[in-house]
Amino acid sequence: MTRRARRLPLVVPVTAALASALLALVGCVPAAPAVPPASEGRRSTDSPGALTGTLVVLAAASLTDVVTDLVGTFEAEHPGLTVQTGFAASSTLAGQVVAGAPADVLITASDATMTTVTDAVGGAPVVVATNRLQLAVPAGNPGGVTSLDALADPDLTVALCAPDVPCGVLAAQVLEQAGVVATPDTLEQDVRAVLTRLTLDEVDVGLVYRTDVIGAGDAVEGLDLPDDARATTDHPALALPGAAHPDAAAAFVALLRGPVGRQAFADAGFGAP
């Protein structure tokens, strides 16, 4: 009893500490959201002429490097503007936008994913770049891969994208057209995961985008698929209807489509729209 009595006054400082910690935590929440916020940007109004505020750009993970570069260029052109980027699987981003996540521009890795967004919120997307699937092998090609048939070789370890994500849909289309019944050992959640398996030399062959092979440097070698393989995908960009900064969103999409954007996409290995 006496022990309890002596301890009770401690409750006050402990509670104060806990409460302040909790408040700090709650205060932190808007700083680290799952979805990039545009609320601050929404409050500021775009003054005519100069673009100001915070533009939120969501883009497919495969576009991370090139979009980051172009955002830097865009911010340099418009000093009053801050751009927040969010990169994830196209389908994840599309789901977030449809669910009402605040965003101004969305760039996906396939038309199909973009259609789920335009069906829900409207708008007219424009294709800003294209990409091609390539056969990819670890440096030195330990599996001796020469053609798509390698994907059907049970002796080789094969990684593909799951058919639930755009790179998997494209892979399935290519394989079906070529009449190859693949024997994958793993179906990864996104194309970057397939690339990781290749760079770590854990698999002999996989299907990834040409840009991924270029981005991986010396660790991965790419083998072009036949020209008649329907292995290309579009990257449509959409200035989202109802965006907080329509002018800035339109300007950013124009940059993606313009000479600067085209050059950046080409440098990263993307095809022209």
Binding site: T2, V11, A19, Q189, E202
Partner: protein, 289 residues
């Protein structure tokens, strides 16, 4: 009676506001834990649930999950009980270090465990390279890899539970058996283990549940292929991008399975963790006082 109540009464006015705040904060804590689950249950398409769960892909993932988690638990029992027995012995030097090592997977992000396993057993890994070169065996992308990932993250739960039970056990019977000439293995098998069987069962159940929920180490180390490595958590993660309703349905199933194990244990699991008194030690303490 008046004596002990006196000081408490004097402090009550100062304590009350603090108590209210503490209870409020505790309620907030409960809300953080329970509200997400309520949201999950509210979002569950109950009508379509049987159809969603009867999908062959779901059944395949469920079967693989149950199978691998069972294997992981069996492996855990075989190596974990002896390990717990070692840890529970105070006459060995360095058990504190051993216990720290056993605890590491509890605090390590599972994905880091997956990376570590890959660096050990991957095709270019420390041991994996040799396995591949000598025997043509590659561990990643097999169900064995799933079990290994599950063992890595779930073994500490079993070891620490069993160690807690062993420490709480009455040692005099083991000592008596020992003085009568029984070997350590015989004492463990015939005297100590039967006495701590509930603790072992609780540890095994915790181990099983943790293995069932394993995601990070599995997806990093084992890969993701239906039938061989795509367990329920991986299927849930993948389905979130293509069939969210199915992801919710599978999540509910996993939640029900996990809670069922905890209910079956009826709070005994808390007693098995180190630091917390087990039912047995509590009884012993009551007898001693």
């Amino acid at each position: 009676m008046a004596g002990p109540q006196g000081p408490r009464h004097r402090h009550r006015p100062r304590a009350a506001p603090g108590t209210v705040v503490l209870v409020a904060l505790a309620t907030l804590g409960v809300a953080v834990l329970v509200l997400p689950l309520i949201a999950l249950l509210l979002a569950t398409p109950w009508q379509a649930l049987p159809a969603l769960l009867a999908d062959p892909a779901v059944l395949q993932a469920l079967r693989l999950s149950l199978l691998t988690a069972t294997c992981a638990t069996l492996v855990g029992l075989v190596v974990g009980v002896p390990l717990a027995w070692l840890l529970a012995r105070d006459d060995l030097p360095g058990t504190w270090l051993l216990r720290s090592l056993v605890t590491v997977p509890l605090v390590l992000p599972p994905v880091v465990g997956g990376v570590a396993l890959l660096l050990l057993l991957g095709r270019r890994g420390l041991l994996g390279g040799t396995l591949d070169a000598w025997f043509g065996v590659t561990v990643p992308f097999t169900s064995v890899a799933v079990v290994l990932a599950q063992v890595f993250v779930s073994l500490p739960f079993l070891v620490l539970s069993v160690e807690g039970a062993l420490r709480g056990a009455d040692r005099r019977r083991a000592l008596a058996a020992q003085t009568l000439g029984a070997s350590p293995g015989y004492v463990l098998r015939r005297v100590t283990l039967p006495a701590v069987a509930p603790g072992v069962a609780a540890g095994a159940a915790l181990c099983f549940t943790r293995a069932l929920g394993e995601f990070g180490a599995t997806v990093t180390f084992a890969g993701n292929f239906p039938g061989t490595t795509r367990t329920m958590p991986l299927a849930v993660y993948l389905a979130m991008d293509s069939a969210p309703e199915q992801a919710v349905a599978m999540s509910v199933l996993l939640l029900v399975l996990s809670v069922a194990v905890l209910v079956a244990l009826r709070g005994r699991w808390v007693g098995g963790l180190p630091g917390a008194p087990t039912a047995r030690t509590a009884r012993a303490a009551r007898r001693a006082s």
